[in-house]
């Protein structure tokens, strides 16, 4: 029995595919994606990998001619961004912020502890 190839989809894939179909390079697409997903942890390598995946799956033709400029791509994408992808982007950022908050709490706690220790030593030295 042949097992189906299941491909994951990320929130930026739809936009990236559209731009790839217009022949834009991954590095240019990265610039455009930063416009709509400013805090996203995406770079040209991620987009390049996605491009290779699309070509391997036969969903994108290789060496497509460039039909739009980066500026045109930016304008086009702003109008096409779906509510679903925007929501998932917010969730990704919210989730990452929560993780950072968790570390922030631990670091603060350690700092306070160190301060308390130093104050304790100073008190001992001064004989308070």
């Amino acid at each position: 029995m042949v097992r189906a190839k299941i491909r994951k989809t990320f929130y930026w894939h739809k936009v990236a595919k559209l731009l790839l179909e217009h022949g834009l390079m991954p590095k240019d697409i990265n610039i455009i994606l930063k416009r709509v997903f400013p805090q996203a942890n995406i770079n040209g390598r991620h987009i390049g990998a996605y491009k290779r995946r699309l070509i391997d799956d036969g969903l994108l033709v290789k060496n497509l001619p460039k039909t739009i400029s980066v500026n045109e791509g930016m304008h086009m994408v702003e109008g096409l961004l779906g509510a679903e992808d925007q929501f998932i982007y917010n969730c990704v950022i919210g989730s990452q912020k929560r993780t950072l908050k968790c570390y922030e709490y631990k670091l603060t706690l350690l700092t306070v502890e160190a301060d308390d220790d130093i104050e304790g030593w100073l008190r001992q030295i001064n004989g308070d």
Binding site: V2, R3, A4, K5, I6, R7, K8, T9, F10, Y11, H13, K14, D57, A83, E84, D85, F87, I88, N90, C91, V92, I93, G94, S95, Q96, K97, R98, T99, C102, K106, L109
Partner: protein, 457 residues
Amino acid sequence: MSSRRVLEANVAEKVKQIAFYRKHIENYGEEDRYADIVNSYRDIITQLNRDIQEIKEEYRATETLKYSKDDVSLSPDGVSKEKDMSDESETYRDDVGGMPESSVLAEDRSPRDVDAYTVKREFRELFEDEYRDIRFELDLEDWTNLANYDNENGPYIGELVVEEEPELVIDDSIIGKLKASVDIPEEFKFSNDMTFYTMLRNVFRGKNILVTGPSGCGKSSLGKILASITNKPFYSFNFGDTMNPSAKILGDTKFSKEEGTWFKPSRFVSAITDNSGAFIMLDEITRDRTGDLANILMPVLDGQKSLALDESEDADVVSLNDGAFFYATANIGREYLGCAHDLDRAWKDRFCGGLYELDYLPQQKEQELLELRVPKIKPLAAKRITEFARKIRGLYSEEELNVAVSTRMCLTAAELVVDGMKLVDALKHTVLPFYPVQAGDDTERVKVLQAIQSMGD
């Protein structure tokens, strides 16, 4: 087409097949596959020799054939290439099928014993001239032709299996995208990860959800986590502290000397009209003693999605923002005496996103949570606290106790341990007051005390 041309074409085709098998030998090293290939290779070579002999016979009959580099003889168990370029005028010899010594030895061996490298070497010697292109340029069409080769007319070739291309499934559903993109927060310790993603999906779709479960299992915390992750403005309304239902939901009249009497909309009205799409938590909804809040909220929660601020004909109607989402929590159970009523059937129906019945965390996850929330707790202490909680919950599920130990109680005990209290004392301090003092040796308090003492120091 002359019979000679037909035979030559036949030979060419067989050579192509041999090249195909040779490629297989290079690509696959499996024993079983190798045996089939070697068998097929031997059969084809036998047939090929026969065809070459026929060609030679035909040439001999016409007496025009000269010795050339096409003069190739093959043996089933080995390939010997005989050329005598010294005398081009020499006609064909009959003993072209003579076997070299190595071939005789190979005949005694089983196909499995034939070394793959020997086979490859023989092919290399055989095809290094005119069939070079055929050997190295097998494309998809050749594979297909070989797979459909007519077994009746040609030699036996093992069954060629062309591997089926797996179906491509692109998971672009919202839950699929969420699973791929969003990490589950550390605090979310529920046993099924899918719960988290379906909850996020409900937030996006605006499908309200109701979470029920025992006190202290993390219902309200879960609401705050979801609001934080979805980056929505968070509003919380506790139903237990309701004094005036209409003032809480709609608003109240105020008086000032400058402006006289005026209407001040409630915080709830601000929440439902928030343009960012608010995350509205309705906490402890079973604790509304007036019973009016649920009725006032009915049109907000159902398809009408609106709220009339008074009962006049020209009343101001506030429409619910499309992005607003309701997250309700409730305690349902015999021990929750403050709960005025069970949930109304129609009220439950409004929460089309689903009713989630949360239970206490599994022991391992609860221990992780304690270590996360109380970073200075030692793992062993966290483990003993959660083991105690598990034991008490077991007694509760067997109906020997009326109250279970909540995660909140475990956290309180862990904080006391970190601050210097002994584990047993911390558990007594935190848990025992929940069990009434009664006379007798078999009371709930005695059972809990025994469980605490069994934890040791």
